[in-house]
Amino acid sequence: MTPIFHISNLHFRYTSIPVLKDLTCDIACGEFVALIGPNGAGKSTFLKVLAGLLRNYEGAVDFSGQLLRVIRTRDLAKRIAFVPQETHMAFPFTAGEIVMMGRLPHRAGGLFDTRRDTDAVREAMELTDTHEFSGKVFAELSGGERQRVVLASALAQQPEVLLLDEPTVYLDLKHQIQFYDILERLNEDRRITIVSATHDVNLAARYARRMIAVRSGSFIADGPPDEVLTPERLYEIFEINAAVFRRPDGLGSYIVPTA
């Protein structure tokens, strides 16, 4: 089976300093991948390359057997959705209007929302439990609500792949878990491929099936969370000493930095 992403020898630099160095990996359809690594490791940049937002990279990135670089922005947006860390709206759009923005790539160019658009929006808002504040202005929602609305907007794109850049970084514990529960359901029930960058290693270990560790623009570990999360590896990745505890139910591990 062809992987949904095939990345080989990917290099990227914003200025003269390389940010991604010679990355090679495959991501299969339906995977739930967590990207972990320290600040500035290149996680966001890697996601933006996959999302087609940065196209001046070197090396090859294939998406479903096609060169990612040559796929039109609009066609890509029908299949890949991107959820940023935080979203600021310059104008007071309501939650419902923001979810509707996710329908843009599917529009043939008409001005009016079609039945298919409203159906997709309703479904996305049901999945994320956001329909109750559909008419509220986005900026007035809480952080957790906002992030769910942004996720709903991404789901309204009806994507095959969901790329998330530290989506829960501003959320409290309950909302972090709630958010990842939704992702898990999307991954299991709808076979949506998920790649999520995160600083919360414990959360990632609980939900992701595969963990890729990035440091200074290189992949330094790639495998099931249990294999990646060892004290030695953690020292390599984060330069921390940490104790690792396996969960008795087998659902991941906990790491506790010791000093």
């Binding site: 087609g52 922005t73 609009r74 890949i80 310059a90 104008f91 007071p92 759009f93 843009l104 794109q157």
Partner: protein, 324 residues
Amino acid sequence: MTVVGPCALFCLLVLAIAPWIGSAGISWHNVVAGRSPDREIFIIARLPRILFGAVAGGALAVAGVLFQAILRNSLATPFTLGISAGSSFGAVVAIWLGLEVVVAGVPFVSLAAFIGAFLTILLVFFIARSGNALPAFTLLLAGVTLNFVFGALIMFIHYAANFSQSYMMTRWMMGSLDTADIRTVWRTAPFVIGCVAALIWMAPQFNPLAGGEEWAASRGVDVRRLKNVSYFIGSILTGAVTAFSGPIGFVGLIVPHTIRLIAGPDHRIVIPASFFLGSGFLVLCDTAARTIFAPTEIPVGVITALLGGPFFIVLLKRKRGELW
């Protein structure tokens, strides 16, 4: 869509009533019967000016919406981007050099104003551009800087010019619709209507831009193309209108804000509604300018600022925090 209808109605109502109001009383019967001077006052003096006012008001309001959308900044207008100042500079230079000729039926001063507007756009573009990106903040700063530079140049020319030239320059910069004749309408209306139609067609793409360029791009918007096209269209809208009217402020600021406050920020509504409200608003202001101190006329820019300023302040006080 609920606001577009009332705005269009308001605009039509103003257009229907305004020609009958003025320093000279005219009667409907005389106009229809073609009797002098009522017919001339209606057809030659008032109607073209009112139609041009509608075109200009709509264009300035939509240009405001457009610049606010692509720069993600609710203070962006043709003024803040230096386009109006550049246009004034062009006109002032033409007056100073005594180029009061008519080229292909267009007064050279207007042509110079249009060229001034367009060169300013290219200049702002050139200054702000870094690589492929056109960062909004740099663009605004470049506009503000050019405003100062052109302001200084205009002042210098004023100083160097003689008394009557200086008077003409001042009058031009006050902004007025009184030079419009029917040819002005024919020269500007097709551009403006074409541009506004194109923008309405593009309207859905402006919405995700509110969340930033990446946000829009990940929803399939070709951001670079959209911004380039928008900037070009906005410049044509502004340039074509200010070439004949001089700079008329506040319309591009008040009208879009009012619509957003009433109907929300969806550009599919804001663009057409702003066009109609801007049209009606400017014609209304111009009617006031013609009649308040009749037979003396006040520059319409004075009215838009005097009506718009306080109105805007009230909105700011009442809806603080909700205003965008």
